[in-house]
């Protein structure tokens, strides 16, 4: 089990204002931000090869669903959570039941989700 300190978190978010907020929150929590990736190709590249411990994924990336990135993370065994304004309703069949951070969220909500992800790490 890892603590949040120095936890390397991949952020995939296509809206500047939102990703700036998430970056600030993660920094406050002591995490290291990887990204943020605003495009699917960049997100896939980072998900497949970057040095990361966990990931926070915006469900809708400029009209394109994020699920290929989630699949890549699953394959690598990297725990992740979705951040979405749709709540769980916006998830695809294959990812129902995954952790969802409902937008908007407080820093405390993000902390709880990250702690859950960190707990999945060996």
């Amino acid at each position: 089990m890892k603590t949040l300190a120095a936890l390397k978190v991949l952020v995939v978010e296509d809206e500047a204002l939102v990703s700036m907020l998430v970056e600030d929150m993660l920094s406050d929590l002591g995490c290291v931000v990887v990204g943020p990736a605003a495009e699917l190709e960049e997100a896939l590249r980072l998900a497949g090869g970057a040095d990361i411990d966990a990931a926070l994924l915006d469900v809708n990336l400029g009209g394109r669903p994020i699920f290929p990135v989630a699949d890549a993370l699953k394959e690598r065994g990297v725990p992740f959570a979705f951040a979405s304004g749709y709540g769980e309703a916006g998830l695809s069949e294959g990812h129902k039941g995954a952790t969802v951070l409902q937008k908007p969220f407080r820093e405390a909500d993000l902390r709880k989700v990250l702690e859950g992800l960190a707990a999945q790490l060996a």
Binding site: D14, E15, A16, L17, V18, S19, M20, L21, D24, P36, A37, A38, E39, N60, G62, S84, G85, Y86, A89, G90, Q102, K103, P104
Partner: protein, 538 residues
């Protein structure tokens, strides 16, 4: 030859003459009987031939005249009107219709009453001497100009149920023309006529009812077609299913295609089928209303929504339905609209949530970069207004995006120094909603900064905004957008990285995959953005 012999021979002769005369009379009577019998047969046949009521009654009256040797005959039928019962001339024989037209309808006088009340036959050798004659006001018997009647025979026409249809009347100007034989013949004829008239009436009524039903069916069909409603019927025991053309069309079938109950069930989407079967079984078992919407797959593979409604048209022995009837309606368009609306509501909800996060982000970052509540409020309000202006612009454009010039105009609309911002471009550029929001906020930050610290903070300072294709775009085409301040105070990079600079250099760079450079020099601030066209376009 003796006188006796003579006498005998005369007697014999007389006897022979008498015999001849009697024989001739008998022959004549027989001939008359045969003639009457033949006439009766002919009339009976004509009555049985099933004509319309008018022809039938005319045949009866003509036949009666022929059989009785009457001068004229008539059939009056009974009508119940507002003024009680009266009798209307229906058929006439042996006299023109005009012979009766001048007179009022016969009333239930002493002479006529037995006939119209069905009490019995009135036969008189001379009606003018009958004690019943002239007993009613104005006590003068037949009205002036009436056909001359002495011999009189009137027979009521009564149905088997005992209701009086009317009466057959025969007359002759000579007295004593109708004997008992004629009376009995007419009684028989009246009975036959009653049966025939009744049967014609029943037939006519059935016809009228049929026509009425056909009209009603025609109207129903029209209403169903106008409402695009299909009609169906189901016989529960035999599972025979009858569907109208529109009903078949709702399931993607042609009018000539077979479409039985099993076809119906098979066409329902497997996901909806158990629900549909349960609903129809409940309707059959308990007589409940059947009202359901389900998806169907047409033979062409198309998915449609059908709304089916029905109820028991005939109740079975145990309270359930023996026969069901109902309608079906293709509600695909409504269902699609509902789905679209649901999607739109979801999308709206998503946007609202995202906007709330944007506001949260603006608040959080403004808080980090301002020193006093007044400064926070000033900066925060300005940013929220900038976001709001962008939304106004997008709403005006139905959220399909906006042009770069429009974004500048909207963001700078209430800006004091807007006339000191000059534009230089060859072609306006259309942007996606996402790029519109991002650039709207960036423009607000640049303008606010210029007004506070840059060229627009002093009189005489100005800004030049220019855009066009990036000349050194090697692989992907890019737009080069510059914000150049001049005539203002010399500027230096800020000690603390503000929200605006961060949004431009990092946020915009991330969101639009842009390269953003801020240059602070003695001439003023210069911002250069290199924006990939594919990230901007709607």
């Amino acid at each position: 030859m003796s006188s006796l012999a003579k006498a005998t021979s005369r007697a014999e002769e007389d006897e022979a003459d008498d015999l001849v005369a009697r024989l001739a009379a008998a022959e004549a009577a027989l001939a008359e009987e045969v003639r009457r019998s033949r006439a009766l047969n002919r009339i009976a046949e004509a009555i049985g031939a099933g004509h319309d009521a008018e022809t039938l009654v005319q045949t009866v009256v003509d036949g009666g005249v022929e059989l009785t040797g009457a001068q004229f005959g008539a059939f009056f039928y009974k009508v119940a009107g507002e003024a009680g019962e009266s009798f209307m001339l229906y058929s006439l024989s042996g006299a023109p219709r005009s012979a009766f037209e001048a007179f009022p309808m016969p009333r239930s006088t002493a002479v006529f009453a037995p006939t119209f009340q069905g009490a019995g036959v009135v036969r008189s050798d001379d009606i003018t001497r009958d004690p019943r004659y002239g007993r009613n006001a104005p006590y003068r018997g037949m009205p002036e100009g009436h056909l001359p009647v002495r011999s009189y025979l009137a027979v009521p026409v009564i149905t088997r149920q005992g209701s009086v249809l009317g009466g057959l009347f025969f007359g002759h100007p000579q007295p004593a023309r109708f004997g008992p034989h004629a009376e009995s013949l007419m009684v028989g004829l009246a009975a036959q006529a009653a049966v025939a008239i009744e049967s014609v009436r029943t037939h006519d009524a059935a016809h009228a009812e049929l026509a009425q039903r056909r009209d009603a069916e025609e109207r129903l069909k029209f209403a169903l077609e106008a409402g695009r409603l299909g009609a169906w019927e189901l016989d529960v025991e035999t599972r025979a299913y009858l569907a109208s053309d529109i009903c078949k069309a709702n399931y993607g079938r042609g009018p000539d295609d077979d479409f039985g109950f099993d076809d119906l069930v098979a066409s329902v989407d497997p996901d909806d089928r158990p629900r549909m079967i349960a609903a129809i079984e409940a309707a059959i078992r308990h007589g409940a209303d059947y009202d359901i919407e389900y998806r169907v797959r047409t033979p062409g593979g198309e998915i449609r929504w059908v709304h089916a409604r029905g109820r028991a048209a005939q109740t079975g022995d145990h309270g359930g339905a023996r026969r069901m009837a109902g309608v079906s309606l293709d509600v695909t368009a409504r269902k699609r609209a509902e789905e679209r609306q649901k999607l739109l509501v979801n999308e709206l909800n998503h946007r609202v949530k995202n906007t709330l996060v944007s506001v949260q982000s603006i608040a959080s970052q403004t808080l980090r970069t301002t020193d006093t509540p007044a400064a926070f409020r000033d900066a925060f309000e300005g940013r929220i207004m900038a976001l709001s202006h962008t939304h106004d612009l997008l709403t005006q454009q139905n959220w399909e995006g906006a042009s770069l010039r429009e974004i500048f105009d909207f963001e700078l609309e209430a800006f004091a120094a807007r006339d000191r911002i000059a534009f230089d471009y060859a072609r306006d550029v259309q942007l996606s909603p996402k790029a519109t929001v991002a650039l709207g906020m960036a423009i607000h930050e640049l303008a606010t900064n210029a007004l506070k610290y840059g060229a627009l903070s002093v009189p005489g300072g100005a800004v030049r905004v220019a855009w066009g294709p990036e000349p050194d775009a090697a692989d992907a085409p890019r737009l080069r957008l510059t914000w150049t301040e001049h005539g203002g105070p010399p500027v230096v990079p800020p000690r603390r990285h503000g929200f605006g600079a961060r949004l431009l250099e990092k946020g915009l760079a991330g969101e639009l995959s842009a390269q953003v450079a801020l240059a602070y020099d003695s001439l003023g601030l210069a911002c250069t953005m290199k924006l990939p066209i594919r990230a901007l376009e709607p």
